[in-house]
Symmetry: C2
Subunit: 222 residues, 2 copies
């Protein structure tokens, strides 16, 4: 049976970027279906494929939907296991990779949103926490080229999409990630050298800023 | 080398119950170290073993710490793989199990906390959402004896700890889970027949209510 792989996505999504990168790393051919309006007008395909959360990205493999980006990346790693392993095979190393990915999901997403939603003291506290989180990640990276060691892998995939949002965070949060976390910037640039997976999957940061300006207007945030 | 397995836990934790059940299902002998005061006075062992989140449960296997209950259960399943598999081996079935476990973590924990922290309209909205979430889970269970089918497994482990908190939710939330979700209650009672793992790991619900009364007093919630 020919494989049918579809990714239902919306371009600014850091979550969707993960799944795209994983598919590209594995060399999986897929159809990309762009969701036009994830806020006000979800497509019937999205509602049918992810009835619980009604959120992109959705990976559809031979008609079966897999939801939640981290689960999609693990699924891709398991199904196309012969090429470019993304998670380590050792249980303890796997647990460590899952721990840091979970940390990124629990902490960074919330603070990232705060940079354009919060105001005044709340914004200041948010920005401090944001930088603290990045510093914890930078310390975990240490002197390794990638989070898992010498090879690009799971944690790199989970984190790298945020890089396309860094200019947005800096603009609205009014801080410099480069000054605070230069090693993390060097890591991101290293990841971006993967032209066929990472560079191809990350949007233009200027376009992200434009999207956030649209969101601020939509939600009436000055 | 003899295996050294330690579980650092605090008895009311639904998260810690998961790890205990997984260890018991696998027949792993372990030392249980009880954290006395997770709110105001964390032990030096906890701070050393989980410096990022400073939270129980922590699984310590031959000196190495594994944090986050869902990651611990996966780790236990991988290390002691010869007995009682907890996650399915098929990638799609695994993805489904991880999806529902993630759903429980993202949705049920927040609403559970709301039953004793929220008030007035907020409490009403919280309780409605709580029951809606349970109904979604009940619908996913369907007529199967367990979430994964005929065998007790990952999603059952992730969810069953909440059952020991049901009387607390009902008391402070003022609703009846039994009336709303009788099939889910039947599932929980089926799980509790596993005396050596589930029944052994769940605390007395009356003790949980006492603990919540203590929390309400501590946080000044009438």
């Amino acid at each position: 049976m020919a494989e049918e792989v579809i990714l239902l996505n919306f371009w600014p999504s850091i979550f969707g970027m993960r799944t795209m990168i994983a598919l590209e790393e594995k060399g999986v051919k897929y159809e990309y279906i762009s969701e036009e309006d994830v806020i006000k007008n979800k497509s019937s395909l999205l509602l049918q494929m992810n009835p619980v959360h009604k959120k992109i990205p959705v990976l559809i493999h031979n008609g079966k939907a897999i939801c939640e980006s981290m689960i999609q990346v693990q699924y891709i790693d398991e199904v196309w296991s012969e090429k470019s392993p993304l998670l380590p095979s050792d249980p303890y190393q796997r647990a460590q990779a899952l721990f840091w990915a979970d940390f990124i999901d629990k902490k960074l997403c919330v603070c990232g949103r705060g940079t354009w939603r919060a105001k005044g003291e709340e914004l200041e506290a948010n920005n401090k926490e944001f930088i603290d989180i990045l510093k914890i990640l930078e310390s975990e990276l240490g002197d390794k080229p990638y989070f898992g060691g010498h090879k690009f892998g799971f944690v790199d995939i989970v984190l790298i999409g945020f890089y396309s949002w860094f200019p947005e965070y800096q603009k609205f949060g009014n801080f410099s990630i480069e000054l605070e976390c230069s090693k993390l910037i060097a890591w991101a640039e290293r990841c971006l050298e993967r032209e066929k997976s990472v560079a191809k999957s990350l949007p233009d940061p200027e376009k992200v800023i434009g999207y956030v300006l649209y969101l601020k207007k939509l939600y009436g945030i000055e």
